[in-house]
Symmetry: C2
Subunit: 228 residues, 2 copies
Amino acid sequence: MAINDLSKDLAPISSSTMADVVEVRLREYLKKKSFRPGDALPKELELAEALDVSRNVLREALSRLRMLGMVETKKKRGMILARPDILGTFERVLDPLIIDKETLQDIFELRLVLEMGLADLLYIRKTDKDIAELESIAKKEINHDNSFRIKNEIAFHGKLYEMSGNNTLKRFQIMLLPIFDYVVTLEKKPTRGKVNHMDLVQILKTGSKDDFKKGMEAHLQPHFDRLK
Amino acid sequence: MAINDLSKDLAPISSSTMADVVEVRLREYLKKKSFRPGDALPKELELAEALDVSRNVLREALSRLRMLGMVETKKKRGMILARPDILGTFERVLDPLIIDKETLQDIFELRLVLEMGLADLLYIRKTDKDIAELESIAKKEINHDNSFRIKNEIAFHGKLYEMSGNNTLKRFQIMLLPIFDYVVTLEKKPTRGKVNHMDLVQILKTGSKDDFKKGMEAHLQPHFDRLK
DNA sequence: ACTTTTGATATGTACTACATAAGTACTATA
DNA sequence: TATAGTACTTATGTAGTACATATCAAAAGT
């Protein structure tokens, strides 16, 4: 970790290419001029000239901003500022095979934290219709083989996030899921909490928020037991 | 006219540029060949030729992967696969001024969820030393003006995340903080829960995990009250 | 007044050329 | 023989030119 910090502090000296600089400068420029989404930006040639770089370099920087969704370009109309999809960029680097072991573990824990903290939103926003849907999901997992149960596990918890009424949160957890599964399958022991999905549904129907928190804790207990 | 409208509806098919395609192809390629971080990649010219695009286009795509930290390049050595910093990319688009209102609200809630779910990790990993540090932070906020209290608020909750022993989580919340503050300051009413920081420290010292969860809930209650 | 055509223009793509840094091989000297 | 130094090679970084393509705008024709 100390090494990590060090490399972060010292790296930029050699690693700053023109495209890197231009990317930063452009970002500063967009912020400073406080463009609003939809506003038109100067032409490539004007920007390149103003920054005193080739159009090539400028386009490499623009390509990054385009990927992030910060700008959009059309053939004649030019460039306009756009709203980046904050999770879309995240998704691109979320590959279990690339992420280092510590971070994988961190993400595994992160999802546990989310799951545990979900109760408050749930009890503010849950509806009878939601609970009915959740119940039908939970019912399906009875009398099915293991591979089905995994899919259903995803559906169940996904529905929980959906019930939170927070779309960003839901998308976030969907992205985290492969990582979570990856870590879970690394440890081969099949985990089964004392509280199952149907129990949780029952609590949601008639129980208090505290009941649900305790239920979820019991449901996830096998995962927590592995932490140290 | 109907045909015209139709073509408008169907247009987006061709809206991907070469750089977009190459970016995807490269990512697939890296995945398929299951390169490990540190492995050397083919030269730009070879890649460009294989993909049948100009070096320009290839470099625009590479520029994106470089930004994400997926590849690193050195002058003669060529390119190597690297570990992307999954949060670094996130940070780039996390600007309250760009994000739309709904997402801002989502992120606000996301942080509340994290905060509420933190207890389990905390009670697995907290140490006396941590608690002592947390207490000293909490003590400082007595007899100070409001601007100081905000800074201290950040320090206190930051320390909580640190105590979770999850570095990714801590960095994540640091990035979320400006958004959180932004939303909080939008609603001008100064919020103050029934449980303050010193109370939370006391609970951490002598109370149970459940006590802490209830304490945190009371601490954040003013925020939850605003949700609907 | 409406449609068609034409022209202007900004981005997308390709190609060339050279600078620069970094590895490699070869040579000279102790 | 070992070492240091030098020249060469090579891959990326940057600049510049040229042309394709799509789209907006205005002129032209009905």
